[in-house]
Symmetry: C2
Subunit: 343 residues, 2 copies
C-alpha cells in the first residue's frame, strides 16, 4: 500500500507531467508549495514508486514519467472532480443555444465544441438508427425509370435512395404500393423493416399491383440501409498539435484507424454504460497504444443510447476531460430526450 507521501508525490508528478510533457525531476517537485520535502527525500520516494511500477525513467539519469500503471492508479484514486470553470459551461451550453430541432445537428455540434474545449479528438456516436421507427414512406418518381424512395423516421431523420423502376410500369401501381407500404409499415423499426416488408406486404402486392415482382425487388434493395454511419468527429487534426506525437507514421496509422468505420466499435463500446477510461495498451487497437480514450454513454428517452469518446495522448488531462464528458453526457441526455418527447 502506498504511504500518504507517496500518494502525494505520485499525484503531483502525474499532474506536472500532464501539464508540461517533460520528465519530472526531484528538484522541480521540491520547489512546489504543496511538497514540503527536500529533493533527496523525493528521490527516495520516487525510487520506491518506480520499484512499485508507478513511475518510469526515460533513461538512467532522467526525471520520472508516469507508467501506464501510474496513470491507472491516478485515474482510479486521484480524480477528485472539480466543478467546471464557468467559461467551459457557457461553451457547452452553447451547443443547445440555437433551437436546433435535429438530433444529428446537436451531436455534430457537440463533437465540434468538445474537441475545441479539450484540444483532443472527439468521436460521437448517435443513437442506433435501426431502433427508430418508420413515420412515413414515400416514393417520388424522377425520370421514366428511376424514382427515389424516402423513409422518414420518428426522430425526423430522412433516409433516401434512388432506385430503378421497371420499364412501362403504371404510375398508379406505384401509388398503390406506397399506400400499402404506409398502411402496413408505419411504426415498424428500421431494424425490422426488411423482414416485415416481405412478411406483411408481399402477399398484398400480389393481389393489387401488376408486375409486383420487379418493382418489389428493386424497392427492397433500396431500403437495405447502408448501415448509415452515424459517427461524428470533432478535431480530427488535433492529434497533430500534441507534442507526444511526432512519428508521422504512427500518426497516419492512428488517423486511419479512427476514420475507418469498422474500427469504431473497438473505440466506442456500444453497449456499455457510464464512463470508461482506457489507457495506452488497454486499448484494443494497437495503433492506439500511445493513446488514452475516455468514453461515456448518453441516453435519449428510455430506449436509445449514444456514446462519446475523447482520444488523446496518455498524458491526457483526465480530470478536465472526465468532468467535461460527465457534464456533456448529462446535458445531451436531457436535451435530446426533451427533443424527441416534443418539449
Amino acid at each position: 500500500m502506498l504511504t500518504e507521501r507517496q500518494l502525494l508525490i505520485l499525484k503531483v508528478t502525474v499532474d506536472d507531467y500532464i501539464q508540461s510533457a517533460q520528465p519530472v525531476g526531484s528538484n522541480q517537485l521540491s520547489k512546489k508549495s504543496e511538497i514540503p520535502f527536500s529533493p533527496a527525500t523525493i528521490r527516495n520516494e520516487m525510487a520506491d514508486l518506480e520499484g512499485l511500477g508507478f513511475l518510469e525513467k526515460t533513461h538512467t539519469s532522467s526525471g520520472r514519467v508516469p507508467s501506464e500503471k501510474g496513470y491507472r492508479y491516478y485515474v482510479d484514486h486521484m480524480l477528485t472532480p472539480r466543478p467546471l470553470p464557468k467559461e467551459d459551461i457557457v461553451q457547452l451550453r452553447s451547443i443547445f443555444d440555437d433551437k436546433i430541432a435535429e438530433t444529428e445537428e446537436v451531436i455534430k455540434r457537440s463533437a465540434m465544441i468538445l474537441s475545441e474545449l479539450t484540444n483532443y479528438t472527439a468521436i460521437l456516436l448517435g443513437p442506433d438508427m435501426r431502433k427508430h421507427t418508420v413515420k412515413k414512406l414515400s416514393i417520388v418518381p424522377l425520370t421514366m425509370d428511376t424514382a427515389v424512395a424516402i423513409i422518414v423516421t420518428d426522430n425526423g431523420h430522412v433516409e433516401n435512395r434512388v432506385f430503378t423502376i421497371p420499364q412501362g410500369l403504371d404510375p398508379s401501381d406505384i401509388e398503390k404500393m406506397v399506400n400499402i407500404l404506409n398502411e402496413r409499415l408505419v411504426g415498424v423499426s428500421l431494424n425490422d423493416l426488411h423482414r416485415r416488408l416481405e412478411q406483411e406486404t408481399l402477399t398484398i402486392f400480389k393481389q393489387h399491383v401488376n408486375r409486383y415482382g420487379e418493382l418489389f425487388s428493386t424497392f427492397r434493395k433500396a431500403v437495405i440501409l447502408p448501415q448509415e454511419d452515424n459517427v461524428y468527429y470533432g478535431g480530427k487534426l488535433n492529434i497533430l498539435n500534441q507534442p507526444d506525437f511526432h512519428d508521422l507514421h504512427k500518426i497516419r496509422n492512428l488517423m486511419d484507424v479512427m476514420e475507418e468505420s469498422k474500427h469504431i466499435p473497438m473505440i466506442l463500446p456500444v453497449g456499455s454504460q457510464g464512463l470508461h477510461i482506457r489507457i495506452g495498451s488497454e486499448n484494443a487497437l494497437s495503433a492506439m497504444e500511445d493513446c488514452s480514450v475516455i468514453t461515456v454513454s448518453y441516453d435519449i428517452g428510455e430506449e436509445q443510447t449514444g456514446s462519446i469518446a475523447i482520444v488523446g495522448p496518455k498524458r491526457m488531462d483526465y480530470k478536465r476531460v472526465v468532468t467535461l464528458l460527465d457534464t456533456l453526457s448529462g446535458d445531451l441526455s436531457k436535451e435530446l430526450t426533451r427533443m424527441i418527447r416534443g418539449k
Copy 2:
C-alpha cells in the same frame, strides 16, 4: 530560347526528381540511356538552366531541383500524354460498375478511387445544388410541435429539415399548405425557391390557411438551405505519405485549409472550364505554397458542372494525374449525363 539539349536535360531532370524526390546530379543523369553526354557537359547545361531560372540547387554543391518556373515549363511544353495503363482504366471504370443511381454516390466513389490511383488528395465538387429544381415538397409531422420539411429535387437529392410548428395548429392547415406549395413551386430551382416562396404562395396562404404567419415563417427558415456542402474528399491522409512534407505544422495548416469549406472556392475555381495546373505559389492560399493543384471540370447535361482537384506536392506526377483527370472528367460527364437523362 532553350536548345534541344537543354530541353532534354530539363525534362529528364524533372522526371527524375518527380520519381526520386532527390536532387539530381550530373553523374546520375549521364548514366541514363537517353542522355549521351558526359557529366561535364551536363553540368554546363545545368548551370545555364539554373541561370535561366528553371533549376535550383538546395545548397552550393548539391544536385539540381526544378524551380517553380521549371515545373511550369515542364507542364506547359513537355507533357506528352501517354495513354493510361490498362489497370488504371479498369479501376476508373469500376466507379460505374455497380449500377449506382445517385450522382452523389458516383462522385464519392470517384474521389476514393482517384486518391487511390494517385496517392494524392482528391477533392470533388458536385454540381451546384441550387440549380436543381423542386420535384416534390412534403411536410411530415413528427410530434405535437415539430415536423420535417422534405424537398425532393429533380436529380433525386433529398433535402430535409426539422422545424417547429406553432402550438395548436390544425393538421388540415398543414395539408393545405403542402398542396399549395406543390402546386406553385414544383419546377422552381432551389436557388429561386426562397424568393418564389414569398412571391407566389404568401398571398394564397393568407386566404386559405389559418395562422399562416407563424407556420410560414418557421417553414421558410427550414428551407433556407444551409449551403449544403457537396464537396467530397478522397485520400485526405495521403499528404502524410509524401516525403516532401515533414513539417508537422505545415501539414496541419494544409489539412485545415482543405477541410475548411470557405477555402474550397480558392482551390476549386467553380466557374472555369477544362484542365488547370497551379504550381506552388501560383496557388491563392499560402498554406498551399508547397503544393501543386490540378483541377478539371466535368459536365452533367447542358446546365450543370462540377469540378475535380488533385492536391499533391509540387513534385507531383503531372503526366499521370493529367491523364487520369482527363479520362475521369470525360467518363463522369458521360455517365452522369446519362443518369439524369434516365438512360
